[in-house]
């Protein structure tokens, strides 16, 4: 299903590009113009997308009764621990279980927050906030080590890029 959605999404993007490119004229007397190449490539993309969608539908239909996925022993072990934990459920455990299950989405959301922090508050504050939260998400939760890694890592990056290489770092609207 995800494959079908991705192909449809790109087809919609291409249709949008066709609509936007209506205003681009051809060179007089030729088929050359700003919209020639996008039209050609966009049309090919739609053809290939249709083939992919048909293939994906065919694969979906070919799957018979859904077979329950074999559980990874570690997950099952962890699952059984979870059942015990549920009995004394705490907010913290529920939160940890949630971010474990949705860790990819959480990582992406964290990067969005990091982007906003860089825009408004700059590199140092943004990175000092990101590193401990990302390490927590990745289940690296030794407080002293996290503190050391955050401070030393941010300093190292700052010194390497800004001081040694002269590469500018985001300063943020607040401090810019």
């Amino acid at each position: 299903m995800a494959e079908i959605r991705v192909n449809i999404l790109f087809c919609c993007i291409v249709v949008g590009m066709f609509i936007v490119s209506r205003d681009y004229d051809f060179v007089k007397g030729t088929i050359l113009g700003a919209r020639t190449f996008p039209l050609l490539v966009g049309s090919l993309l739609i053809v290939f997308a249709c083939v992919n969608i048909i293939g994906a539908i065919g694969r979906l239909k070919a799957v018979h009764a859904p077979v329950p996925a074999a559980k990874d022993p570690q997950e099952s072990l962890f699952g059984s621990e979870m059942l015990q934990e549920k009995a004394d459920a705490t907010q913290c455990n529920r939160f940890n279980a949630f971010i474990r299950d949705k860790r990819v989405v959480c990582a992406i959301l964290l990067m969005v927050v990091y982007y906003l922090l860089l825009v408004f508050l700059g590199f140092i504050i943004g990175t000092v906030v990101l590193i401990p939260f990302m390490l927590y998400l990745l289940e690296y939760r030794k407080p002293i080590s996290v503190l050391l890694i955050t401070v030393v890592g941010t300093m190292l990056l700052f010194v390497t890029f800004k001081v040694l290489l002269g590469v500018p770092l985001p300063t943020g609207w607040l401090f810019g």
Binding site: A2, V6, F10, G33, A34, V119, T127, L138, V167
Partner: protein
């Protein structure tokens, strides 16, 4: 001489060391390392910056063998074939011997590849200087036809991905009419999408997101590193395989769209086929380590041939290096040989010298590089996110590039999950402008007459190889299906 009278040699050494560290760590690839470390070259001269990138590339491809041998996990895809005999040899308590074989084979294979590059590249460039717009159109189409080789099992997925790359390349100013395309009145989109943020997003950020997904996987058991070295008899035994694999690797690398992993597997396959004891392969045969390592390092230099002479990337890492060259203000192609020969000769010297440095660093530093494997993976993943952001920001000091990088990263991750290949997207982005601008020029010059392609000998040559390439892939595709 330029290499040894400036900072180029120490920079090359530093690049190789960085590359080896990146290659050793599973989940980090040479391509990602180059993409992340391109910002280090901004303040360097083009020659020195190029030496750094070549060092990272060569070191990264070699470094993957360390984790392949000790951890049964290739540090880079190029080292996948090394696992077959490297890990079993390590399990027999001979990890040091395996590392020594991998190091020596990589160095000799890379050296042979570098010598072929030095001899062939100027000759190809002499022919390429005579290319006109029709030849560049067909060259671009030939490069795009390689999508069929990098598509993996599904040709239509690869072609779909290639079309996405071509469409991305249409953002910005139209090369023929100079009309702003799809800019929506914003300055950021007027020049199109930056190549570097897309590269960093697709190859570094997407890998980091995959690292988050796989963060709970248990790491395999690491073999202990024993005494590093091989006997003269063993060296002479593997030498013919090293030399043969070097030629295979160089010529595989010279074909646009292939990669070091293909070179490694082909070399391994040929070594097994021609061995007097093929039954030993898979159980710690020393030729089974030497052949793929020689092939993949030779491929590094082979891949530089089409990049420097024609401006077409030989594989993903050279595509990233090509982006890095543009950032350094260099335009790869045959004119580089005439306009900036000092750059070309520094490249030749760097590729040859890098192999000497690989032997020194690989043998002397193997224990240090093996320790890198014990770094916590989650800490490394966290810093990849930060480096990806820094790398994409630092090119133009523009947060829009960071946004592009992020979107490309999510897109690259989704594509990898759905088993859609990423190299065709890259080929489309890089070759799209080449094909479009030269097609426009060709049609203007010939007043729309397409027979111009059939009136020029080099064009006819390209048409023949394009038809042969596409025909061969279609035949393979239908043979697999039916």
């Amino acid at each position: 001489m330029y290499l040894f009278t400036t900072m180029a040699a120490p920079t090359l050494l530093g690049g190789i060391a960085l590359g080896i560290v990146i290659g050793v760590l599973p989940g980090l690839t040479a391509t990602m390392g180059i993409a992340l470390l391109i910002p280090l070259t901004y303040d360097l001269s083009p020659s020195i910056g190029l030496s750094l990138l070549i060092g990272i590339f060569a070191g990264g491809i070699y470094g993957g063998s360390v984790s392949a041998i000790l951890l049964k996990t290739p540090g880079t895809p190029a080292a996948a074939a090394t696992i077959f005999d490297g890990y079993p040899l390590a399990q027999r308590g001979l990890a040091g011997k395996a590392i020594a074989i991998a190091t020596i084979a990589s160095a000799i294979g890379g050296l042979i590849g570098a010598l072929i590059l030095s001899v062939l590249a100027p000759q190809i460039a002499r022919i390429a200087v005579r290319f006109g717009p029709p030849e560049y159109v067909l060259l671009g189409i030939y490069g795009l036809s390689m999508i069929s080789f990098v598509s993996g099992k599904s040709l239509t997925k690869g072609l779909f991905a290639g079309c996405i790359g071509l469409l991305i390349s249409t953002f910005g100013i139209d090369p023929i009419t100079s009309v702003p395309r799809f800019s929506f009145g914003t300055l950021n989109l007027l020049t199109g999408f930056g190549l570097l943020p897309i590269l960093i997003g697709m190859f570094a950020m997407s890998q980091a997101i995959a690292g988050v997904r796989d963060s709970r996987e248990k790491a395999p058991e690491q073999m202990p590193l024993t005494k590093i070295g091989i006997s003269l008899k063993e060296f002479l035994w593997i030498l013919p395989h090293i030399i043969k694999s070097a030629f295979i690797g160089t010529f595989v690398g010279a074909v646009p769209g292939t990669g070091t992993d293909i070179a490694a597997f082909l070399s391994y396959g040929e070594a097994k086929r021609s061995s007097k004891h093929p039954e030993e392969f898979g159980n710690g045969a020393i030729e089974g380590i030497a052949a793929p390592e020689s092939g993949n390092n030779a491929c590094v230099n082979g891949a530089l041939i089409p990049m420097f002479t024609l401006g077409i990337p030989g594989e993903a890492a050279t595509a990233v290096i090509l982006g890095g060259l543009m950032v350094l203000g260099l335009q790869p192609g045959p004119l580089l040989f005439t306009e900036k020969p000092e750059i070309i000769y520094t490249v030749f010297a760097s590729t040859i010298t890098s192999n000497l440095f690989i032997i020194i660093l690989g043998l002397a530093g193997a224990r240090i590089f093996a320790k890198v494997l014990s770094l916590p993976k989650n800490v490394i993943t966290t810093f990849i996110f930060v480096l990806a952001v820094l790398g994409s920001y630092s090119m133009s000091n523009n947060m829009f590039d960071v946004l592009v990088m992020g979107v490309a990263g999510i897109f690259g991750y989704v594509f990898s999950v759905l088993d859609y290949p990423l190299p065709p997207v890259l080929l489309g982005i890089i070759l799209g402008p080449l094909v479009e601008s030269n097609l426009g020029r060709t049609l203007l010059v010939s007043y729309g007459d397409l027979t111009i392609f059939f009136r020029r000998p080099i064009s006819i040559f390209f048409i023949v190889i394009i038809v042969a390439t596409i025909g061969s892939s279609i035949r393979k595709y239908f043979r697999r299906r039916f």
